[in-house]
């Protein structure tokens, strides 16, 4: 059995002739990628539904720069700064995650632990920022606005002071769905961190599990890049 396998390997040089993994990749990592493709399709559909409705109601669609204008400890009209900071936090935590994966490749447990901890802190910081952003969106401005004969401060799922109700619906759904992904990512990272601390991957001989968690984490960052563009910039 073994000898026939080795002879097969010698004869076949192409990736697709069998006897080896054609993508030079473990099944776990490949399935993480395929899951991310399907997840990307889900997010694409959500953002596209948002795009279609925004074009449908383009005359009454609010400008995000008039809605998200707060920054902690500062007063006045400051659009984009806060969400820019959130983007920075998420990109930064993506960097610390790649550094953890890199440390894993070098089997450097201490360094991997340090970068994983930074990544988790970054995740919590982002979730906190998200909560702050939601709080200000929901409570709204002091002035408020009359909507359907009701004085509205802020937003809920049926009406808001900023403009078309679908704007708030998509905001809650898309940033909420993304925020839940971030939350799941933090939980996954904590589980992986515990395994790294316990030396599970040193015993196993490779840190591929850190790499898989990293793929998921970068994907969450990638989705945010799109949310940032289509909700806040464009």
């Amino acid at each position: 059995m073994m000898s026939s396998e080795t002879s097969l390997k010698k004869e076949n040089s192409s990736d697709w002739d069998g006897g080896r993994s054609p993508f030079a990749m473990s099944w776990g990592k490949m399935y993480m990628w395929l899951f991310l493709v399907s997840d990307a399709f889900t997010f694409s559909s959500l953002i596209l539904a948002y795009g279609a409705m925004r074009h449908r109601f383009s005359s009454v669609w609010p400008d995000a720069n008039d809605v998200f204008t707060h920054f902690p400890f500062l007063h006045g009209h400051i659009p984009l700064a806060y969400v820019g900071l959130m983007t920075f936090i998420l990109i930064m935590s993506s960097v610390t995650m790649v550094l953890a994966v890199d440390a894993g490749h070098r089997m450097n447990r201490k360094s991997a632990i340090m970068w994983m901890v930074f990544t988790i802190i970054g995740g919590f910081m982002f979730l906190g920022s998200q909560a702050w952003e939601w709080y200000h969106f929901i409570t709204g401005t002091e002035g408020g606005k009359m909507v359907d004969g009701v004085m509205m401060h802020g937003a809920n799922l049926t009406r808001n002071e900023y403009g078309h109700p679908l704007f708030a619906d998509f905001f809650f759904f898309i940033t909420g769905f993304h925020g839940f992904h971030v939350f799941s990512g933090v939980v996954i990272n904590i589980i992986i961190l515990i395994n790294v601390i316990n030396g599970v991957y040193d015993k196993r001989g490779h840190y591929e599990q850190v790499e898989k968690a990293g793929l998921y984490w970068h994907f969450v960052d990638l989705v945010w890049v799109f949310v940032f563009t289509f909700f806040y910039l464009v």
Binding site: V37, S44, L80
Partner: protein, 121 residues
């Protein structure tokens, strides 16, 4: 029994290949370079949002820069650039459908919007 043996053997092989791939000392330099590119693009985007450039030009600049950013995230952070080209195609090709979907839904949204506008007149 025999089957089990071969299976574990191939799995081990795959991991071994992965480790060998990254036998360069460390990619830290490339990682930080990617970080500065991503940060630079984001700062640039926020910066030009406050200029009085035409709306259409701004919109397409933002969309273009978003695609540049995703190239760096997927290529370097997620390492797709260093996987086998076959695999990169498996991951990227399905998104052709999304491009089609974008064209379809935006047209549809505009059309229904214009119909509703006509009815108000």
């Amino acid at each position: 029994m025999e089957d089990n043996k071969t299976h574990s053997h191939t799995t081990h092989d795959v991991h071994h290949m992965n480790v060998d791939d990254h036998h360069q000392p460390s990619n830290t330099k490339q990682i930080w370079k990617t970080f500065w590119i991503l940060l630079g693009i984001t700062v640039f985007e926020v910066g030009i949002a406050f200029t009085s450039l035409p709306k259409g030009l701004l919109k397409w600049t933002f969309i273009g820069l978003t695609i540049v950013k995703s190239y760096y995230i997927v290529g370097y952070f997620m390492h797709l650039k260093h996987e086998k080209p076959h695999f990169a195609w498996v991951i990227l090709l399905p998104f052709v459908l999304i491009i089609y979907f974008i064209a379809m839904l935006i047209c549809e949204g505009n059309y229904i919007g214009s119909l509703a506008g006509e009815m108000l007149k």
